[in-house]
Symmetry: C2
Subunit: 336 residues, 2 copies
């Protein structure tokens, strides 16, 4: 067990797009687990768009990060020392343990994961909170019926790609929106969406309309902003819009002005913001559904793995600009 570890903490609030000087990499002592605690060696870190919101001074659904805090983030790793019942050395666990090599944690913060059923990293993505977010937003709030059309923004992303696959498993037509021809091709070929439209293409609005001959019944929105505005007029009566995130707005210093809110009234649409942590009661059901789909070979995922904790800030910044394919991860220590 080394005496010291690396840790990334929050140095400065960003204005607009974060820059590397918003982060500080430091070497600090490895914590010592007390009675009832375990020490975890973090193997892989998940960097996610919601972290950008936590960097704001206000306006987030969760407590803001204070300057000096260790960056929040989920990790998968192994127990290296346990003083807690039910945990033994070598077990694989997932938790929100932060951007650091080692973490002291309580059992309530940890979930044991089965690395014989799927790779450890899958539990940070399609089989973890990412997949559960997709399941809860789609099924609990989107409430699709077989035969309906489910549209998803950021469709090549970690959440969006799962939404489309779950929609198809449910008997729906799945249409994605993604940035660039390569991502759209991935959405269609790897994830099996019925169609995917490039929002950067000059004929986006027309192409979207063509891809939705039956209109939109569920729009699973990860981005907000102008794309949500473009989708509203394509909604069918009584459409449901689970609002999972607003990634198009996180770096915006001036929020986009939504023009088409009148369609929410005209088409009797329901827009519902949701945050996964409010719905812990649904996790077991979602988790089981995702594991079942994966075991049956019907849940595909992709990962972009950046090597080294020191590169985590760059990976995070690039992800906000859409540089990743699938789940953006950072491997903290070299693969064994």
């Amino acid at each position: 067990m080394p005496a010291s570890q690396r840790q990334v903490s929050f140095a400065r609030r960003p204005i607009g797009t974060p820059t590397e000087d918003c982060f500080t990499l430091a070497t600090v002592p490895v914590g010592r687990p007390g009675p009832g605690q375990v020490l975890v060696r973090n193997d892989v870190l998940s960097v996610d768009p919601y972290i950008r919101m936590r960097m704001e001074e206000k306006d987030s659904y969760a407590p803001v990060m204070r300057i000096g805090d260790v960056l929040v983030g989920r990790t998968v790793g192994q127990v290296v020392e346990s003083h807690a019942d039910g945990f033994v050395e070598g077990q694989w666990v997932v938790g929100r343990l932060g951007w650091q090599d080692y973490s002291v944690a309580s059992p309530a913060e940890l979930q044991l994961v089965d690395v014989s059923a799927a790779p450890a990293t899958a539990y940070l993505g399609a089989l973890g909170s990412t997949g559960i977010t997709a399941w809860v937003g789609l099924h609990a709030f989107g409430k699709p019926k077989a035969g309906e059309t489910v549209l998803v923004s950021a469709a090549s992303g970690a959440v969006g790609s799962v939404v489309g696959q779950l929609a198809r498993l449910h008997g729906c037509r799945a249409v994605g929106i993604a940035g660039g021809a390569a991502k759209c091709e991935l959405v269609r070929s790897a994830y099996g969406f019925d169609d995917c439209i490039d929002y950067r293409a000059p004929d986006f609005a027309e192409a979207l309309r063509r891809a939705l001959p039956q209109g939109v019944d569920v729009y699973f929105d990860n981005v907000g902003g102008p794309i949500l505005d473009a989708v509203l007029p394509l909604c069918n009566n009584f459409a449901r819009i689970p609002l999972c995130g607003l990634v198009s707005q996180y770096n915006a210093t001036e929020p986009y002005g939504m023009k088409n809110l009148r369609e929410v009234f005209n088409r009797r649409v329901t827009i519902r913001g949701f945050v996964l942590s409010d719905h812990k009661d649904l996790w077991p059901q979602a988790s089981a559904a995702l594991a079942g789909a994966y075991a049956a070979g019907r849940l595909q995922y992709r990962e972009t793995i950046t090597e080294g904790l020191e590169n985590a800030p760059r990976a995070f910044i690039d992800m906000l600009a859409g540089a990743n394919v699938g789940k953006q991860l950072v491997r903290l220590r070299p693969a064994a």
Copy 2:
């Protein structure tokens, strides 16, 4: 029975605020009821904001009016000739019979009303579809719990005034938003709201915040636009926003750009557009609740009655600018 009657039809689509030349007043023959039909002499006409939406070429929840159509509108009147089972001369009925002195109607279009329990005009307002709109939006979609705060825009208006009274009957704190000190005073004194804020006052945002020390749990919105934008940051987590209308936007040639939609995500708000005609199943329950509150002396309403069908276009135009107090009605024939 006269051979001819007056009728107002749709002459021209407005751009922005409607003008009187959007309407044509003509003298036409009184229709003859066929077998199974009744002839109704319309006594009082209701002019409502939703009509402005029906004047658009598109973008409404209902079929648009065509040029030459009789203006849509609900009336209360008396059966003067019946060839339909269950209807006899002299009965009072409400129906969407249009801007005209007489209408031929089928039983399915008519509701009998009890003018011994309340004045006939009440069935165009607090005891009719207006009150039912308030009840359905508040209870079916707002789902307030006793002790919560219900905020209502256009609070001195026909729907808004009922919403606040129903909220208080349900054990909620009711706060209104209205235009001008006189309307705010009416909302507090006549309708008994706990508070009412003048959106035209220079300190509106600050006054609204002060009036909502516990935040907003239900925002019953009739206006959309900048007021909705101002309310979103005051919402509590899991707030519900039944969107009943967008009167601030009906005359707008350029829609307002909503900046604060991110709060829908941050605060896990549900915005739900609704239109009364989708919810006929709830009418009996709502109607009974409203009649009970009225009989108990706990449902107040106000009316602005304009005399003469020829003045209906002006009354409609002025109502869109907020000139009315309570329900805007037009008496088609002189009071007996």
